[in-house]
């Protein structure tokens, strides 16, 4: 950026205003990628709102969108670490199918022989088994990649085929339904949510955390004599973030239980409130951000992505770190599989089909560099929201599934292309 000492002929009032706006943006340090994502989101939302004749931005649809985003976003947080470490995982959709089917089989076919249907411990056993299975599959991929030395692209491409087949084979292609009563709560629905009041509490806690982070950030920077954002910028940011959080909750809380269900609970307008999948996503996002930024493991993943040789020379057990990243990915896929089967209240052999496309796209749109070393968890969650908005919108306007994949594929390539073009442009 030039400092404006060269007076260009274009120095008009509009240019000055534009510069003022840029300066303000610069002061808040909101990065351009975030702005780009929010812009894309706004275009998609408003576009589909008109296209659907006013249904997209209803509380009901946005509530559904929040639930649907959860599975992709949960997996995208893991995909960030995989891609940051210079790997890729093409198998997440198929692993989701295999693990989801396994959890369904446990609930419908295997466990009932021992403890009967809808036993109180059913959901715990099924979930724990699913998480373990996910970790084992991820560990197997990671082992072959890190210790045997087969490129992750190949291993997970194989996994894409293998685990899809396993998903089919477990029930010979049949649909397994319904799920355990408690297990179903993991998927949201009219019972699987926390209601209006607790949603406001979650919002308030989130606001508190945001303010705490801003204040703490200021204090830290002050202590080390680093350049501080102007106070107004911090206040604006805090108000903006809190406004978005509380506004979203207020809006979602206007989606009410169906009258029949509400009547059984005393009648009136009873909000759904945040759905359990969304709460799980919030938890996963916090934990994954912590892992990525505060733990040695996260630092090593980034170091390996930045310079594998340097990481090795630093004495890091790089193979083990990569294998752990894949184990973590497997666990996250299992969580997503639980949410997905619970939400559908069924497992089908096509469960999670082409999810890898959405998950990778979410991570990349969210700022994860395919060259490795760069990426954020929250960016990927936002990226997932973009991708899911696109898909949900297409479903709403009646686009056929194969055409949805066409659109998602194009968006993925476009996002990467845009990224490399923007990177090539000198600052």
């Amino acid at each position: 950026m030039t400092d404006g000492s060269l007076i260009s002929p274009e120095t008009s009032r509009t240019a000055a205003v534009r510069r003022g706006f840029r300066a303000a943006l610069h002061a808040t340090e909101i990065d351009t990628r975030l702005m780009g994502m929010l812009g894309a989101l706004a275009i998609i939302w408003i576009g589909f709102h008109f296209w659907t004749g006013g249904t997209f931005l209803t509380p009901r649809n946005l509530w559904n969108l929040s639930v649907q985003t959860a599975t992709v976003a949960i997996m995208a947080t893991g995909m960030v670490l995989i891609i940051v470490s210079r790997n890729i995982d093409l198998s997440v959709g198929s692993v989701l199918g295999a693990v989801g089917m396994a959890m369904a089989m446990l609930q419908r076919e295997i466990l009932p022989e021992w403890i009967g249907y809808d036993h109180w411990a059913m959901w715990i056993i099924a979930l724990a088994a699913g998480l373990l299975l996910g970790a084992l599959i991820g560990g197997l991929h990671g082992f072959i990649i890190a210790y045997v030395g087969v490129p992750s692209f190949i291993v997970t491409l194989g996994g894409l085929l293998v685990w899809r087949g396993v998903a089919w084979w477990q029930a010979s292609g049949q649909t397994i339904a319904p799920m355990d009563k408690t297990f179903q709560l993991l998927g949201g629905g009219s019972r699987g949510n926390i209601g209006g009041f607790w949603s406001w509490i979650v919002g308030a806690v989130a606001c508190g955390l945001i303010l705490l982070l801003l204040v703490n950030g200021r204090r830290q920077r002050g202590k080390f004599g680093l350049r501080l954002r102007p106070v107004w910028a911090d206040i604006v940011l805090g108000a903006l973030y809190c406004g978005v959080v509380l506004g979203a909750i207020g809006y979602l809380n206007r989606y009410f239980l169906p009258e029949r269900v509400a009547a059984a609970r005393g009648g009136g307008n009873i909000p759904f409130g945040l759905a359990n999948p969304v709460l799980i996503l919030i938890g996963v996002t916090l934990v994954m951000t912590f892992i990525a930024t505060r733990l040695r493991f996260g630092r090593y993943v980034f170091a390996i992505g930045g310079n594998p040789e340097a990481a090795e020379l630093g004495g890091i057990k790089t193979r083990w770190v990569v294998m752990k990243a894949f184990i973590l990915m497997g666990v996250l896929v299992a969580i997503a599989a639980a949410v997905q089967t619970a939400r559908l209240n069924a497992a089908v052999s096509g469960l999670g089909q082409s999810a890898e496309l959405y998950v990778i796209a979410a991570a990349v749109i969210g700022g994860t560099s395919l060259a490795g070393g760069v990426g954020t968890i929250t960016g990927a969650v936002l990226g997932a929201l973009v991708m899911q908005s696109l898909q949900s919108g297409m479903v709403l306007v009646g686009v056929e599934a194969p055409i949805q994949d066409v659109a998602a594929g194009i968006v993925l390539v476009f996002a990467v292309a845009l990224d490399s073009i923007l990177k090539r442009r000198p600052k």
């Binding site: 505060r294 980034f302 040789e309 090795e312 020379l313 630093g314 004495g315």
Partner: protein, 265 residues
Amino acid sequence: MTLTTEASRGVPLVEMRDIRVAFGGVHAVDGVTVDLYPGEVLGLVGGNGAGKTTLIKTLSGAHKADSGEIYINGERAVIETPRDAKKYNIETIYQTLALAENIDAPANMFLGREVLTRWNTLDDRAMEQAARHVMGRLNPMFQNLRTAVRSLSGGQRQSVAIARAVHFNARILIMDEPTAALGPAETAQVHNLINQLKAEGIGIFLISHDIHGVFDLADRISVMLQGKLVGTVNRREVTKDEVLGMIIIGKLPGTATKTELAELH
């Protein structure tokens, strides 16, 4: 090799005996024997591709030797990984610097040896403070420690690599072209540092193409040519021309003819 002047100063800090490394058919290091005493700077010189980096990589654990033995303080040492080397307090400044470009200077300094809080999370504050402390000694002008190494200058990167080696109290320090990217002031600072560390009793392998710098700093000079050790000489007993003769035509002092020496210029 027979001309090696061996000051009898007790047990050497490091002894590398008959080290061999081959890449395919290329004998990068071919039966090299060198040693290093406490408080000594051993200059390791030779043309491009002579095998200097490969030799010291077997000591820093970055590369396994095909054969040969390493003795630390007279005891046989098995160094197979960088972690093994660090156990022996061997620190290395690599020619390639070995920095992860996407993370900041303190994170690089402590890569693999992070300071943790009592909850086992990264203690970035402590690491930054330590980094500032060391950097004050090396390159006081370098202040913006928290930016990714990607956006640092070549000299600043080199200071990060040096800071890493210095911070962890090396007893054996390997410096592979430590001043290649540095300006005159920073180079002088590193030379100062080398003399300081030497006074503290640390043994230093100094690899450099800057023959004047080596003559200023080294006590002894080992010369390599095409993977073989030409010889090790006492810096006080040779001239720069004689060392150049060793580097280029592989002739020990006194064995090269006048015409051969004249051709060097």
